[in-house]
């Protein structure tokens, strides 16, 4: 049993008050001078057992009554039959983490974390409030509140089904807050069902402060944080990257980077069977796993040369976390990686065009077009993976501005270089300020080398960013994420906080600006990585993280590989990993990479996130089949009433009043002993 207000338990010694009062009263009773003590002693001795038992019972009941009051003040929580007496809230909002990691389950149990949490919570809601409370489901995948007819519907509705999405718990709580703001209610219980995966909770986000303040202002809101932070047992996960179809001579092959990750390192090298299914045809290949993780770059599978496009998946043997045992992919002949450079100073951007048109992969086209700003309408937006813009920002509201936004929204890349004369206009929350001339060339003293454009190479070698020499650079203002910084924390390469495929380069590659063109390695890697980023959404076969359906095509999406369960509603299709097809478009949906990280928030951290709110943390395990707890202070009050009633009955005067016939004085005066 736990308590919501355990501080009141310090008053438990007060339960001994009846005993103390009893002892005090013993010596404050009315004294009666008495002579016939010999009879009194005999009577006491004969009655001692029953009398003492009765007295002990009365005192125990009084102590129990006081203890019940104190315990009820401390707001006890209990499960099982004891937990059936909790009060019913007006509304129960179930916030469900539907991320892929919630599908984890022990090999011995068929129930996933999500199912176990839903079962227990629905049962608890049924037991505690029956049909008296309004039950609303808010899931992390759709963020749309769904009013349920009964608690058991939590287990049946599609909006509580499994997904391979990533959860954003702050956004889920914001959704609950929005719902409560638009649907004012009395007492509201918020059940948050999650596995506490760190990446889902984003504990460092600034949104938490706002959420805490907003919820604290809402009266009668209580949080029940039902956590299942149980790491999977011996989980093995697989992930593919850079899936592409390669041709060479008379053969074709499917090439990708393969990553295997195990929860714990095997004691001896372990052979892992990988089952590849391409267009419905399965092949098996073995891979030896020597450490907790293995990465195989440029893993290739032979393809029929006539097979230009298709879909497939790779599968691992079943384990406790089925969500990361499969990875889906699609392929097609790689589309040309087209880039367009729009510059007001064509001479300054010639090195850019030279780098972009140099093919890093044989057999693939890298067309690059150089345009002046007045010819921006000639940009082939549909085929352009990367747009390099070296001119003033387009004015908001203009068609060109809209085309910029659409280009970025479609997942294409945008690299912005400062114009010769910076203007007072913004794009993606950032603006160029003014050019700075360095007295002598400066070099970047920090750059982000673990990811993004300046990341180390696959073999871990760092790009020679530190050897660059920057003579002239332009300042940037606004909220951004730096990718490279000059001394004094001046940004050299950055991207807006809100967009991950938009980049700002604060200098020019020509000799007057920097040594980027002279030391072309960094420029080449930077441009082609940006180009690859934009190319991900290029073509008709694309890879995406399972999330809301793309709406770029008019034809409905349909599953094609059979891995999606039959009867899955159309609005839930994109939430599951699998292959979807819409017309000529193929879409491979997979879980978010963050879902493979088995790092969980501790209950203490969780309490910190809900500090100041009426929240309790219920940490559970999948193996624990007991019911959840609920507040049972009413039970204790009822127990107190029962104890007082029993005490009153025990204290009632004896119903057998002395009868005169039995009295020793009956016939006393007239019956002296006969001699």
């Amino acid at each position: 049993m736990t308590f919501l207000e355990p501080i009141y338990l310090v008053g438990l010694p007060l339960a001994a008050l009846p005993v103390v009062i009893h002892l005090v009263h013993l010596w404050r009773r009315k004294p009666i001078p008495w002579a016939a003590m010999m009879f009194l002693r005999i009577a006491q001795q004969r009655h001692r057992g029953l009398s003492q038992l009765r007295q002990i019972l009365v005192l125990a009941l009084r102590v129990l009554a006081v203890a019940c009051v104190l315990l009820s003040i401390a707001r006890p929580l209990a499960g099982g039959w004891l937990g059936l007496t909790g009060g019913a809230p007006d509304s129960v909002l179930v916030l469900l983490d539907r991320s892929a990691s919630m599908e984890q389950h022990p090999t011995s149990l068929p129930t996933s974390k999500r199912q176990a949490a839903l079962q227990k919570v629905s049962k608890t809601i049924r037991q505690s409030s029956g049909d008296r409370s309004k039950v609303i489901l808010l899931d992390s995948a759709s963020l749309h509140p769904l009013l349920l007819t009964q608690p058991e519907a939590l287990l049946d509705v599609p909006h509580s089904g499994p997904t391979d999405t990533h959860s954003d718990l702050p956004a889920l709580l914001q959704g609950a807050l929005d719902y409560l703001a638009s649907h004012p209610s009395g007492r509201t219980d918020l059940w948050v069902l999650s596995d506490l995966q760190k990446t889902d909770w984003d504990r460092s986000s600034g949104r938490w402060q706002n959420l805490r303040s907003a919820f604290a202002a809402l009266p009668g809101v209580r949080f029940h944080l039902f956590a299942l932070p149980q790491p999977p047992e011996d989980d093995l996960g697989i992930r593919l990257e850079n899936v592409s179809r390669k041709t060479g001579g008379d053969r074709a092959e499917l090439q990708f980077d393969l990553f295997l990750q195990r929860q714990s390192a095997p004691t001896s090298p372990q052979k892992i069977p990988l089952r590849f299914i391409i267009n419905g045809v399965a092949t098996t290949s073995n891979l030896t796993l020597k450490d907790s993780q293995t990465a195989v770059h440029a893993f290739s599978l032979p393809l029929d040369k006539s097979l230009l496009r298709g879909w497939g998946r790779v599968e691992l043997p079943a384990d406790s976390n089925p969500s990361n045992n499969t990875f889906h992919f699609v392929f097609e002949p790689p589309p040309p990686l087209r880039s367009v450079i729009v510059s007001e100073d064509p001479d300054a951007t010639v090195p850019l065009q030279a780098a972009l048109s140099s093919p890093p992969e044989p057999g693939r086209e890298f067309p690059s077009t150089l345009l002046s700003p007045d010819r921006a309408h000639e940009i082939p937006w549909d085929d352009t993976a990367l747009l390099v813009w070296n001119a003033p920002f387009p004015k908001p509201g203009t068609p060109l501005h809209h085309q910029f936004l659409d280009h970025v929204a479609a997942g294409r890349a945008l690299l912005l270089l400062p114009p010769q004369t910076p203007e007072d206009s913004e794009l993606f929350g950032l603006r160029w300020t003014r050019w700075e001339e360095a007295a002598r060339p400066v070099s970047p003293d920090w750059w982000k080398n673990d990811s993004d454009l300046l990341a180390n190479t696959r073999d871990g070698t760092a790009l020679p960013v530190g050897t660059l020499e920057i003579q002239r650079f332009c300042g940037v203002s606004g909220a951004f994420i730096p990718l490279a910084l000059l001394p004094g924390r001046l940004p050299l390469l950055l991207r807006p906080a809100t967009e991950k495929n938009v980049f700002f380069l604060a200098t020019h590659p020509n000799p007057g600006g920097s040594s980027l063109s002279r030391d072309g390695v960094v420029l080449f890697a930077l441009l082609h990585r940006a180009l690859a980023e934009g190319a991900q959404s290029l073509g008709q076969a694309q890879h995406r993280i399972a999330s809301a359906l793309p709406d770029s095509t008019t034809a409905p999406w349909k599953p094609v590989d059979g891995s999606t369960p039959l009867g899955t509603p159309s609005d839930q299709l994109a939430l599951r990993a699998g292959i979807l097809q819409s017309g000529s478009h193929l879409l491979a949906l997979n879980r978010a990479p963050a879902e493979d990280l088995h790092e969980y928030l501790s209950p203490e951290t969780l309490r910190e996130l809900f500090a100041g709110l009426d929240a309790r943390v219920l940490t559970d395990t999948l193996e624990d089949s007991r019911d959840l707890t609920s507040e049972i202070w009413r039970t204790f009050l009822f127990g107190m009433a029962l104890a007082l009633l029993a005490e009153a009955i025990l204290c009632l005067p004896s119903s057998t009043r002395p009868q005169r016939q039995d009295s020793p004085t009956a016939g006393f005066a007239t019956a002296p002993p006969s001699r």
Partner: protein, 306 residues
């Protein structure tokens, strides 16, 4: 100290004067009186004939019997002697018990006892009997006045009575044994007490007195509350004899209490029957005069007076 001799009610005494105090057994008095003596004397009441032995007073020869039987017989007559009334007053703490206010009298047990003992002392003295007094308590100096005759001695006894106060534990049994040992001549031993002692011990003491051929009379003073134990609420019962107090809930123990009292009274009745003492159980809320009258009438000789 209570007002001297206030326990004597002249009206009650005047009414009781008509009832003489008789001994139920022969007494060995020092002077002539109203009571039978085991020795033969010169009263008018014939006792027996016995054979003449040399040395007998020839004036007591019954010549008529000699004439009929030609044998010498001495004709003997009963001797009348006086009575030694030995008053034994229990002055232990329990004698301070006073009935609860609803009762018609508010006399304590000792005050009640003094009225009985004082009245009998007065009546005995008035008819020429000797009166003595002994108090029974383990606290203070016990009063022990040997039985003597005379108005002056009665005054001493009554004055000592007025000075008695209840305190300490009872020494009833020990006092009875002591009196049995010290009282050499036959006497009427009148015990006034609550008799809150084990009946077995009391039985031995009474037998001791009986062995000394004393006439034993007892006034057992009890209160109705002591018998019925009719209390409503739990209370602390304070021992009047100085023992530890007891916390008790009368509603729970009343039945057992009454059973204990009944057993005690039954044992006491058995003792009375076996030892032949003149026993009178008196309730404190009742007037003492009827009890005294009953006592005096009960001791009157069954046949016609002399």
């Amino acid at each position: 100290m209570r007002e001297s001799r206030s326990f004597l009610d002249p009206a009650v005494l005047a009414r009781l004067m008509a009832l003489p105090l008789h001994a139920r057994h022969a007494m060995l008095g020092s002077v002539s009186g109203k009571h039978r003596s085991p020795v033969r004397g010169s009263s008018l009441e014939f006792a027996q004939y016995r054979k003449y032995v040399p040395g007998d007073d020839t004036r007591r020869l019954d010549w008529r019997t000699w004439g009929r039987s030609d044998r010498f017989y001495i004709k003997e007559f009963e001797a009348d002697t006086n009575l030694r009334l030995c008053l034994l007053l229990d002055t232990s703490g329990s004698m301070a018990f006073r009935p609860a206010p609803p009762m018609p009298t508010e006399l304590s047990r000792l005050e009640f006892a003094l009225r009985i003992a004082g009245s009998l002392a007065y009546l005995a003295a008035k008819q020429g009997d000797a009166v003595g007094l002994s108090s029974m308590s383990d606290t203070g100096t016990p009063v022990s006045i040997p039985a003597r005759r005379g108005a002056g001695h009665l005054g001493l006894v009554l004055d000592q009575m007025s000075k008695l106060t209840p305190a300490g534990g009872t020494t009833l049994v020990e006092s009875l044994h002591r009196v049995a040992e010290t009282l050499r001549q036959r006497a009427l031993v009148l015990i006034v007490s609550d008799f809150f002692v084990p009946t077995a011990e009391l039985h031995h003491a009474i037998q001791h007195l009986r062995f000394r051929k004393h006439d034993i009379a007892a006034f057992h003073l009890l209160d109705r509350q002591e018998l019925e134990f009719d209390f409503e609420k739990p209370a602390r019962f304070v021992d009047l004899e100085g023992g530890e107090s007891l916390l008790a809930d009368p509603t729970l123990i009343a039945r057992n209490y009454r059973a204990a009292v009944a057993e005690y009274l039954s044992a006491l009745d058995s003792l009375v029957r076996n030892s032949g003492i003149d026993y009178h159980r008196v309730l404190l809320h009742e007037p003492y005069e009827p009890a005294l009258a009953k006592f005096l009438l009960g001791r009157s000789p069954k046949k016609a007076g002399r």
